[in-house]
Assembly symmetry: C2
Homo-oligomer: 285 residues x 2
Amino acid sequence: MLGLDPDPAALWFEAAGSGSSASAREVAQLTADAVERHCRLAIEAAGPFCVAVKLQFACFERLGGPGIDAAYAVADAAREAGLLVIADAKRGDVPVSAKAYAQAFLGSTPGPFGDVPGFGADALTVNPLLGRDALEPFTAAAAAAGAGLFVLVRTSNPGAADLQDLPAPDRPLHERIAELVASLGAGDDSACGLSMVGAVTGATRPEMLDRLRELMPRAVFLLPGVGAQGGRVEELAAAFRPHPAAGLVTASRSIVSAYKERGGDPARAAAEAAEELRAAAWSLV
Amino acid sequence: MLGLDPDPAALWFEAAGSGSSASAREVAQLTADAVERHCRLAIEAAGPFCVAVKLQFACFERLGGPGIDAAYAVADAAREAGLLVIADAKRGDVPVSAKAYAQAFLGSTPGPFGDVPGFGADALTVNPLLGRDALEPFTAAAAAAGAGLFVLVRTSNPGAADLQDLPAPDRPLHERIAELVASLGAGDDSACGLSMVGAVTGATRPEMLDRLRELMPRAVFLLPGVGAQGGRVEELAAAFRPHPAAGLVTASRSIVSAYKERGGDPARAAAEAAEELRAAAWSLV
């Protein structure tokens, strides 16, 4: 899966810096336009070797309203290229606000001028700290939209251990969250046996995947942390055990910035890196 | 504090529904304009009795790019009215993405056309599940901006108990998070003795506040859940113990929708409800 976390200071092309007399809003618009073009090029280059794009919402949100417009446009471009769209937004809030986030990413919002369509994600990453009642608006919206969720179970950063690995009290907190994920997805059934409630399980601690797979036999695992963060695809077999589609390996910098190590054209380097990653993942199933 | 979580289906005025032939983008723009006007009216009515506004980002985000533009405009209006602006966005991600969220809400983003200014929040709510390294980009950005953070410690929804109250292993997880908050804020010092790293501590379980105050003696407590969720201001004295500014009572529906119970003009009802809440909070210090 192609991760898009665009950095306007590291685009694939030279953007003309004519913003010195522009207003703050104009600078945001110019930057968002450039970010959108960068993402379109990355989709064109690496898309054919991927099943989905994952938009890191932080990178779009930092460009204000124009940045969110760009995220919507990039999602349209990905869908036109036949790719699924995953909103990596890690949202979570009390139930009434979780419902509003679900409208933003998976549904629509009724108002006096008609329904305002949301982002239309095929899947959304969500944060479980607020508990089951705060996740239920997301599962309801996902079910209505035929979309999926990825609940943060064990993230890929070193600090994940601070809370997620605490014994709580007899097993790590992330195993408790895994049980919650399995129970939230218990009702739904698909032809392939996988659930619409998946899990973010970082690729940086592969030794945890066996146990997590045991606790969540039907969840799709979203596996960030391959490449730049040190995770290795070869160690992720447990994720793919129930089904070839039960693991989604996501790589952002190691595809989009591949030209920095490989040299040459950014698009060609990205295509090569994506193709190698795909081959490595498929060799596991 | 005035909570703004605008529902386009429940505005203070009749919005003309001429959107039947409009495109999705036009419907979003019309709706966002109406939401912005609603929020400006609420600030005008209840602002004089408040110290800050709290924008529930989910409610703006569900209107796409125009919704985020509206959030920026509402923040400007609040600042012009002399109010602090709290972004209630509950963001949290791995360090590299947390840095991008910090740019979005507390800083700015460098790019080829110059710096793109962010939302400019005076404080931001953040989710601690990803651990200390994922919070540090927020504390760094807040320190640079002279802004504050509110870390979710114990939220106000019933499901909060599912994970936040688990014994982990010898004390509840929320007490562990409280210790993390105290340690993150240990370095900074203000004239009044309060830290820039505060805590979201729901008003719905006031019996927890004594212990949380003990663990976080210098943190400002953001206290949601008063009113519609059942919390009572009279029970929140522990929050205010170190300083009159050490507790921030936030109310959204019980101010903005006060006219539904009190009758009459929405603006007058909101002003009355805000004034009563202020009096109740001040009577504690």
